[in-house]
């Protein structure tokens, strides 16, 4: 193996039923290097890591490690650990009710009798060595999240790890804690540990990384040195557009602008999950929130619908002051919300297609005014026909439908309530191309009929095609608003990357 290289993965492929998650991906990690693994949602980052750590068996390819002749075989997380590959996940996977020292040594105490005093002494040495501000006999739950994260890293490092994988380690940390974690990462790097850093925060990549490997749709886009890949280029690579190719895209359909009266307006609206923001939408307008995953776009629309705990702000619907603190309030004010995570928040899996369609309308009508069976059947027939929902019958449980058809059922549920303002968070995620187009066309048609719509999608082309105004978010803040001439991919990427503040 080449000198200075600690890990190579060659031609890694992995398929799941119906999806090719990884297609001949290469990855190289050098000693004493922080290597960022970047890609949009579903690009294959987690699959690659799970292959490397033995969670998933790979279909093809080979993994070579420094100090081992030929390819190594990794069949379980235990194998990976024995080979010196350690992972620290986004969620802390330690035991909060045990002490720091216990967490560092649990499961790898060789002696039959455990001398915790000795272990505490060893733990103290390691913590001290790495400059981690925790005491060995402290209960882990009493440490801050960052320190817990660092204890997990200390545990990994002490197991002679040569490859340390940090999967979204910073997503629940504040700025100061992130700085602390980066200090530790640089320290480990200087000791020769190769670190794979997975994150969706672009700034953080540029702060600590040496190299970046970009994946897209399960394929390797390339490996870059950080200084060779400016932030805008990185965004372009992740989205699969080279900036030169970005001729102005033509907008299909015709988009209606902010001509009509204001249907919904919020000032300094905030929730437990998002910072205060201002927002308004007009009759017949389609707008969108854009930004990378984790930028706060979903949290913002959840605040509008009252899905999270609303903490402040003034809201007007049709010019009248209203209080929207829970989904029911929003629904009574003519707002509908198709949630981002269809499986978790959208479908009632065991209920029939019919019951799933009438649910929201039933709630708006109130518990004492049940929709009669005959009416429910008629509504279901109407929307199965209108949205071309493919289902064996109205009585089929929604869980046995395909993803796209499930999404259409949820869409039908909200259309049936005839909302004046409909929020669609990732309505096209995980569904086939044909249905994606159908949904986009439907959005434009509904807007023409006077409905106001907020449309969120990870696929920027979809938003450019449908939205007349884009609100750009980064790190949970609105960083720009694009309309008219500015609605181009290049401009969106520049704004996301922080190139131009609008």
């Amino acid at each position: 193996m080449e000198d200075g290289i600690v890990l190579t993965m060659r031609g890694i492929s992995k398929s799941f039923p119906g999806v090719r998650a990884l297609n001949e991906v290469d990855f190289t990690l050098r000693k004493g290097e922080i290597h960022a693994l970047m890609g949009e949602n579903g690009a294959g980052k987690s699959t690659l890591i799970k292959v490397l750590t033995g969670v998933y068996p790979m279909d093809e390819g080979e993994i070579c490690l420094d100090g081992h002749d030929g390819a190594v075989s990794i069949h379980s997380p235990q194998d990976a650990q024995n080979l010196g590959i350690s992972t620290v996940y986004q969620e802390i996977t330690l035991c909060p009710n045990l002490t720091v020292a216990e967490n560092m040594f649990i499961g790898r105490t060789a002696d039959k009798l455990v001398h915790w005093k000795d272990y505490e002494r060893r733990a103290a040495e390691i913590l001290d060595n790495l400059g981690i501000p925790a005491r060995p006999n402290q209960e882990l739950s009493r440490c801050s999240l960052a320190v817990q994260q660092m204890v997990a890293i200390a545990r990994a490092v002490d197991m002679n790890c040569k490859v340390l994988i940090l999967d979204e380690p910073t997503s629940s940390l504040d700025d100061k804690e992130v700085a602390m974690l980066f200090g530790l990462m640089r320290d480990l790097k200087s000791r020769g540990v190769g670190i794979v850093f997975v994150t969706h925060f672009l700034e953080q990549v540029y702060e600590v990384s040496d190299r970046i490997t970009v994946l897209r749709n399960g394929e390797l886009v390339g490996e870059f040195k950080v200084e060779d890949l400016p932030q805008v280029q990185l965004v372009a690579q992740m989205m699969g557009k080279s900036l030169d190719d970005l001729a102005e895209l033509e907008h299909i359909g015709h988009k209606t602008g902010a001509g009509g009266e204001c249907v919904y307006g919020a000032q300094q609206l905030s929730s437990s999950e998002c910072r205060p923001f201002d927002f308004q939408i007009h009759k017949g307008e389609v707008n969108g929130f854009t930004g990378l995953l984790g930028s706060g776009r979903s949290e913002s629309v959840r605040a509008i619908f009252g899905a999270d705990h609303v903490t402040g702000g003034k809201v007007q619907v049709d010019g009248k002051d209203v209080h929207i603190t829970k989904p029911h309030d929003a629904m009574m004010n003519g707002i509908g919300y198709l949630p981002e995570d269809r499986k978790r928040d959208g479908i009632i899996a065991d209920l029939s297609v019919r019951d799933n369609i009438i649910l929201a309308l039933q709630v708006i009508q109130g518990m004492n005014h049940p929709i009669s069976k005959a009416k429910a059947e008629a509504f279901a027939d109407e929307y199965i026909e209108a949205l071309q929902i493919k289902t064996a019958s109205k009585d089929t449980p929604i869980k046995s439908l395909s993803g796209g058809n499930q999404q259409k059922v949820i869409l039908a549920r909200w259309l049936l309530t005839h909302p004046q303002y409909l929020i669609l968070d990732e309505p096209t995620r995980g569904i086939d191309v044909g249905t994606k187009l159908e949904i986009q066309k439907l959005v434009l048609k509904l807007a023409e009929e006077g409905m106001s719509i907020t449309f969120i999608s990870s696929e920027i082309e979809e938003m450019l095609r449908t939205c007349s105004r884009l609100i750009v978010m980064r790190d949970r803040k609105i960083v720009g608003e694009l309309t008219g001439e500015d609605l181009t991919e290049a401009q969106v990427m520049k704004t996301i990357a922080g190139g131009t503040e609008v």
Partner: protein
Amino acid sequence: MSRKNKITASLGQLLIPLVALTILIVFNLIRDPNFFSIGMRINNAGNAVLTGNLISVIDSASELAIIAMGMTLVTAATGGQDISVGAVAAISGAIFVKVLQGMGAITGSTVFVALIACILGTILFKLFNGTLVAVFHIQPMIATLILYSCGRSIAYWINGDATPQLDSPIINSIGKTIPGIPIPTPIFAVILVGLFLFLIFKFTSLRLYTQSVGINEGAARLNGINPTFIKLLTFALLGVCVAVAAVIGVSRLGQLNHKTLLADIEMDAILAVAIGGNSLGGGNYKLSGSILGAYIIQMLTTTLYAMNVAPVNVKAYKAIVIIIIVVAGSPVVKEAITKMIRNMKTGAAKKGVA
């Protein structure tokens, strides 16, 4: 969907309990062709009443059937069970007796007032459980363990250690038979409670809400449903069921014994829900399944007694039969059977081609 398919689909859940019941009936008929013969006899009060094993099974299962209905709703909404129904029934019985005796004479109107007081009191106790479950998100088993442990003590405080006697024709009419009507009154109580719940489901959308909350609480909330309220409501309805069952139990014996009133009924009620094909994890449910489950349990007990199995052994035999029913209804076995049928069909088709 064709009409035939619809019938099989709605039968699906009830298939195993119906088969179990049929086997029990056939078994009894083989053992004793006269097992289900119904006779007429004059009881102590001088009324003509129907007698026979069948009447006895349906009559004795009444309290269980009523409580099983309430248990089904709580199970559907919370994905958990209330194990305090027996202990709370003792409290309900104590309230009923206390209020009734406090008013002096036992007349139609005093019994009615005592019944209402008993229902309201029981709802309060059930709302205590419901609050722990719905507001504080304590696991139903733990939340209801509290009243399970101390319910019978509370019943004792209400009435002292006495076993108050209620000697009155009205109480007899509730617990046994109404003069002139040969069918035991508790059977009518099951029908009344069933009708009460049926009407609630007919005139509100509670069924849809309960199932939604039980299947996906988060999604239900995002559709404007208040899961806390729905869970509390199911506990309140269980309270009504427990109160009615307790009054029947007290009236049947003409006395209140806080130690034995509906003892161990919680486990039988949960069992009835499970035998009826309902998921104990919440979600979709069929009240008819649970009622069927209650009758199966009672039929089993009666059969075993009729076979002169010693009372100490009855529970062991019951356990064996119930294991069979529950395993037969488990997803693993269901899937295996579906696969077998499919294989047989394709096998037959292949043979046909050959």
